[in-house]
């Protein structure tokens, strides 16, 4: 792998000592903040965690963590020089860099907020995050169109535009969410909470993660044609998000007591890493089915030239599941840990939990089917698509249909 990145111009930042140090600094900073939340005096206040991180205290804890991380990195690499080639550091650091960029963007957006007097809980339409989210919506839809255009007119330029807009969409969405976190405090410190508390917010998270996972795969495996499928899925989600907003689901609302927990901040995003990866796997599965069809018809469409081969698409779907499955497993376990702390039992067979289990079993079966003989590409591609439908039901259907029955259908 060392040998792979030689051609890349901007690669110095992502090689050797630089990336190794930065990786450990980020890790140290994250651990420092976690340590503050756990051990610091009043280190974790549900209603003010964002500002605790941004306060002097947070800077001290996070900064010492980062310094410790750097020191550790220096010592460790002196003892074992080949740590400088650590694959993990190289693969994960770009994501963390991207996150820092999002924070910076959010800080810039925050300058455009209306004056404090103009902010009211009852009318949230003048908040800036809403505008950034609208920009994200447009960008993602544009990106999907560009990816589709690329299929029919495989010009490098169109492909570049498609990829670039997908990146821009991710940064807009991510920074808008961070900004929303800040905005939730503007009404009243008591209302503030992390932006992963309702369907609208997690939808934005889902778009960004799906696009980001896809972009990572695109970069590594040159699988651009798949983008048409993944970004179309994202765009479908964007329209749903716009609808949610139009019916008033996009508003910032205070958190019910059950959700006031730091577990939410790790459980929910982790879950959406799983969902997003499964969406990408679904995109790969769809691309597989389309190519399979084209090939079966003996078509010599220009499209085939840019499509990854069937074998590659099969592997891409697998790769996406390989990202999603461990993340989803971890997320489910974190959810269980939270349930154990909030409700007294790690597993109660409530519909959401059970559907998470179902999703997990479906992808577990998918993984086994891949290893075992007798299951081939097309069936597995269908499985990847069907698996995502199950996933969608798990995070949408259960909320809208099953627990809906649960919480409103019954009268006492």
């Amino acid at each position: 792998m060392t040998t792979m990145t030689n051609s890349n111009v901007s690669s110095t930042l992502y090689r050797g000592r630089w990336v190794w140090m930065r990786f450990n600094a980020y890790l140290g900073a994250a651990l420092g903040i976690a340590a503050m939340a756990i051990y610091g005096a009043n280190g974790y206040e549900e209603n003010a965690f964002l500002y605790q991180i941004l306060s002097m205290k947070g800077v001290l804890w996070g900064g010492s963590g980062a310094l410790t991380g750097c020191a550790f990195a220096a010592v460790a690499s002196a003892i074992k020089p080949n740590l400088l080639d650590a694959k993990m550091a190289r693969n994960i650091t770009p994501w963390l860099d991207g996150f820092i960029l999002m924070v910076i963007l959010a800080a810039i957006w925050a300058r455009f907020e209306p004056a404090q007097e103009a902010i009211s809980y009852d009318d949230q339409s003048n908040l800036f995050a809403g505008r950034v989210i609208m920009a994200m919506n447009v960008t993602f839809i544009f990106s999907a169109v560009a990816y589709i255009a690329y299929l029919f007119a495989p010009e490098t330029f169109i492909g570049r535009v498609a990829t670039a807009t997908a990146y821009i969409g991710v940064y807009l969405g991510g920074s808008a969410l961070l900004l929303r976190w800040h905005e939730s405090y503007l009404f009243d410190m008591n209302i503030g909470h992390a932006p992963v508390s309702n369907l609208y917010e997690v939808f934005i998270l889902l778009f960004c993660i799906t696009a980001a996972v896809y972009l990572a795969l695109e970069k590594r495996y040159q699988a651009k044609a798949m983008g048409a499928f993944v970004m179309t899925l994202v765009s479908a989600g964007v329209f749903f998000g716009i609808w949610l907003d139009s019916v008033g689901q996009g508003e910032i609302k205070p958190l019910v007591p059950a959700l006031q927990s730091y577990w939410m901040k790790i459980h929910v995003p982790m879950n959406f890493v799983g969902y997003g990866s499964f969406a990408v796997a679904c995109g790969a599965g769809m691309a597989y089915l389309v190519r399979h069809r084209l090939e079966a018809k003996g078509s010599n469409s220009k499209m085939l030239a840019i499509f990854p081969t069937l074998e590659q698409l099969d592997l891409l779907a697998y790769k996406a599941v390989a990202i999603g499955f461990p993340a989803f497993t971890l997320a489910t376990i974190l959810g269980a840990a939270w349930a154990a702390e909030a409700w007294g039992g790690y597993w109660s067979w409530d519909p959401k939990e059970t559907w998470a289990l179902i999703v997990w079993l479906v992808y577990g079966a998918y993984l086994h089917a891949r290893v075992s003989h007798g299951w081939h590409g097309k069936a597995l591609a269908w499985w990847a698509v069907a698996g995502f439908l199950v996933t969608v039901f798990c995070f949408l259907g259960v909320n809208m249909y099953l627990s809906g029955l649960h919480s409103y259908g019954r009268l006492s």
Partner: protein
Amino acid sequence: MPRMQSFPDLIKSIWQRLGSMSLAIVLLVVLSIASVIGTVLLQNQAQADYLQQFGPLWYWVFRSLGLFDMYHTWWFMGMLAFLMVSLASCLWRNVPKMLKEMRQRKATIPEKALKRFQYLHRWQASEDAAALQQRLQARLPGWEFRTVEQDGVHYLRADKGRWNKWGYILVHSAILVILVGGWIGANYGFRGTMAVPEGSMENEISFSEGTETGNLTMPFYVRCNSFFIDFFPTGAPKEFRSNLTIIDHGKEVLTKDIIVNEPLYYKGVRIYQASFGDGGSEITFKLYHLDGSGKITEATTHVYDGWKDPKSGLDIRVTDFKPYNVENMADPGKPTDFKDLGPAVEYELRYPGFKPVKIKAFMNPFTDPEGHNQGSFIMLSFTGDKADYKPIPLGLDLTNPVEWKLFHAFMHHLSDANQGKKKQDKAQARAANLAAFRAAMVEVFGADRQKWPADFQQMAMRTLQAVNVLSGLPWPMLPMLGDFKQHYYTGLQLAKDPGMNVVWFGSAMLVIGLCIMFYMPHRKLWLIVRESEGGSDVALAGMVTRNPLVFSKFFNDLFTQFKNDDAPQSS
């Protein structure tokens, strides 16, 4: 016909089948389909609801299949047990093989086997075996190497991620561990709820056991000293907090606040804030007699209790009391506007000869957004269902005794004026109303207009409204909320789960195992050098368990660079 197998052979072949991959796939799919049933069919509801929903036939079919408590039925448990057996079988079969494979790393490869390698390059090099081997090792930091020489051929084997199969072992045994943990919890743990009114103590929990309710006595008492609710500015609840004291063998051992997400731990039992409700608040009703007498009497009772008027047979059962009633007062489609309507009591009202109704009576009159007093009001439901509540403005502000007096004075003057007259047109009726109201005002406030209240015109409107509403009520008196002394109960969940740590241990194994399995593929490389006169015949062969896309690129890059390094010297 298949040949008869001997019994041990049969067992053996079944055992082998149990560990097969196809069975694993079938099991996982069947388990997931079965799980769906329990999410579509609401679990552990009242049996009467099921009976009503499905009718007697399906009710009994579903009930005998245990579908109302599906995840605890013998057949669902059986499936989980079957999964465990299957896992045990596949571990049994594969682990020894894998351990052996991980330990011994065969460096030599017969020429015939080499031809079948998917990743293979052969070329001629000028260097000797030792130099080539050294150069490859330098290119592969972090890899493990073994060299062997056999029949004049130099073999170098390089491994990365040699322990990948541990991933498989960890993941599959983790499922076993988690299921065992769950089994321990189900058999040696408990989980139930208790409701403790403020100031009382309790030591018994109750839980649902399939279709029944079970009880269990704790080895200690829990006393609820107090319960608080804190609200957001929007009126949504922000925090539920109980102050609890644990009393063990008559001694107070521990006092602590608990909130949602922050339980209390004592003697292996965790105590969670789960719910809350009215713990029997003391309610004083003001009974407004509707017989025209203008009497107001009082009756005191408690929530979950009631009061009966011996004379008329009017019967009140108090079902709930809430000190805050936050409602969205905005019109549909407008921005939300939450407002606290103040304390309210809910009761069922029975009166001989009339259908029982459910009433929510508010203590305070309703003030509209412009600040006008719109008078007292109740919510009325004829079905007893909360969804059917309809607001009934009563017109009068009943908290103001003067208005009650004014209302009666008005009624008297009106009936006096109406006596003897048969038919009136609208204008006449209005004039009569006005005259009666003036007379009533004079009676209550005196003839001096200066002393009348400033909003007497609104009062007139409300009094007119009250005439229509109050005289339409069929009961002899209207019970309104007069006063209250609030008591909450706190709803606690108590749980003990000795298997929980086993589950966490298994979960950690699962996640670590998955990471090893997916992210540390076992990559193998062989460098095979046959030295000859002019240089060496070299073969570079590779093998990988996972992610061939990346590996093939890696392999080809490695080959190109490794060979090119050599090129200047060989030319």
